[in-house]
């Protein structure tokens, strides 16, 4: 099965050949078919590059380092990745001159765990056909509704428009505006459910989730916003460094501080939840801040632009008082 569209491959090849760029950041096959992994390609190994419904990772963060190297790299960015890329540009983290952004389309990425729950295992190929997805497996062809196997982050897709690009692999497909999918509007529904619980129920919910945290730091390492050169939790001089959670408090502390550090900068790319080996719905923390920011300080989508001030580094004189927390939302 062809694992990359001809448009993407030929565009990349052309960019390398005409000297516009000398590297491409994309995906290559891993140990298993669904087990794709980020990789940098040159002219010589470009044929190994793949891009299909398993290529879910948000690679924006790699360009912090890649753009500091000599030469120019082609960034293959899905629409949702462009938000993260923009946000990093806004924070002067990426050297724009050294990156050529090729916007690539995305129809939602497949969570192999969800497929496994549907009994789809031993995958050797995948193809989307409209709302359906067809798997080739060692047990034969299996199909299911695509929405049943999408990643959480794709369930609330921000839309198919690229926020930034130098070229698009498929210009005809590019919409005029970012039209979020239906579920995007509902992305706060789960948070609202939590808000309507009693504090004790919420506490128990989060204890249940966060107590599973093994501090593998996968969430931190994948997060494009969590891209400090040295994390405070790794810095022995910060006074809060800790390599492992030794008790409940530290489990809470790490995730509260992490969410706070990315508040106003998190694009809701959902990578934290996607990579968590313990399946902790970490996006519910970041998204809570997004919800609060939208409600208190006006709708804001991090990474949609590179000019506007960010919610936590700006203010208005009429901002709500912190006591509003006692009044709104949540069970009294």
């Amino acid at each position: 099965m062809q694992r990359i569209s001809e448009e993407i491959l030929s565009k990349c090849r052309a960019l390398l050949e005409d000297g516009t760029a000398d590297r491409v950041m994309g995906w290559e096959n891993g140990e298993f078919y669904y087990d794709v992994t980020p990789a940098v390609f040159t002219k010589d190994n470009l044929d190994n590059m793949i891009y299909d419904d398993f290529c879910a990772s948000n690679q924006s963060k790699y360009f912090i380092l890649e753009s500091k190297k000599e030469g120019k790299i082609v960034a293959l960015l899905k629409p949702c990745d462009t938000y993260s890329f923009n946000q990093l540009l806004k924070e002067n983290r990426i050297n724009r001159d050294n990156v050529y952004v090729l916007g690539i389309p995305c129809d939602g990425k497949i969570d192999v765990q969800k497929a496994a729950l549907l009994g789809i295992k031993g995958i050797t190929g995948v193809k989307s056909v409209g709302d359906e997805v067809v798997f080739e497996t060692i047990y034969g062809e299996k199909s299911c509704a695509k929405k049943d196997v999408l990643f959480e982050k794709c369930m609330s897709c921000k839309g198919k428009k690229h926020m930034i690009y130098d070229a698009l692999s498929n210009e005809e497909q590019e919409p005029e505006t970012a039209i979020a999918n239906e579920d995007f509007g509902n992305r706060f529904a789960y948070i609202e459910n939590l808000e309507h619980m009693t504090p004790d129920e919420r506490f128990d919910f989060w204890r249940g989730e966060l107590s599973r945290c093994i501090r593998c730091n996968a969430c931190r390492n994948v997060c494009p916003a969590c891209s400090c050169l040295t994390c405070v939790f790794d810095n022995p001089k910060s006074g809060v460094d800790s390599k492992a959670n030794t008790d409940d408090f530290e489990e809470n502390l790490f995730h509260i501080i992490r969410a706070f550090h990315v508040a106003g900068r998190c694009t809701d790319c959902g990578e934290c939840t996607r990579v968590c080996p313990q399946n902790i719905p970490l996006h519910l923390l970041n998204r809570k801040f997004i919800k609060d920011i939208n409600e208190l300080y006006g709708e804001y989508q991090a990474g949609a632009d590179i000019e506007l001030g960010m919610p936590l580094t700006s203010y208005t004189k009429q901002d709500a008082e912190p006591s509003i927390v006692y009044e709104r939302g949540g069970n009294k």
């Binding site: 004790d200 919910f205 809060v240 409940d248 408090f249 706070f260 508040a263 300080y297 912190p322 949540g330």
Partner: protein, 148 residues
């Protein structure tokens, strides 16, 4: 948290971060006006409410505080013109997050207290101690290793 051995009365421990220019001066005024408030309130002087890092608040809870209050200049009166506006946003979001995680709402508070508001400082502290007293000891954010 201190539990008095004799009557097992709960005496909440309150950490108050006060900005140097307004609220700390307000606390001094409460003192020079002899407006009392419970001794379990301990003030930490910071230059501005915007110096208060969420980490400090969580740290206080970890080490056994039962309530944390941040006091700064009234919005518009910041000595540094805009510090309290940033603090206001940060604390609003942090408090909302703590609430979302099931921590009792009343344990954290922000008050704007000017250098002239000694009475307000004292009244606020009395009220806050009362609130925390009613909430009981902080159990949800404690770190048992830090307890005596």
């Amino acid at each position: 948290m201190q539990i008095n051995e004799n009557n097992k009365e709960f005496k909440p421990l309150i950490v108050a971060f006060c900005c140097n220019w307004c609220s700390y001066a307000g606390a001094d005024l409460a003192g020079s006006s002899r407006l009392s408030y419970p001794a379990n309130v301990k003030v930490i002087r910071v230059p501005c409410s915007c110096r208060v890092n969420p980490m400090f608040i969580l740290r206080a809870f970890q080490r056994g505080a039962d309530g944390v209050i941040i006091a700064g200049c009234h919005p518009g009166d910041c000595h540094y013109t805009s510090g309290n506006y940033f603090a206001r946003r940060r604390m609003t979001l942090l408090f909302s997050m703590l609430d979302y995680m099931g921590i009792e709402k009343g344990r954290t508070r922000v008050e704007w207290i000017s250098a002239a508001e000694g009475a307000k400082f004292s009244a606020t502290m009395n009220e806050f101690v009362e609130t925390i007293h009613n909430l009981g000891p902080n159990k949800k954010l404690e770190d048992l290793r830090c307890k005596e």
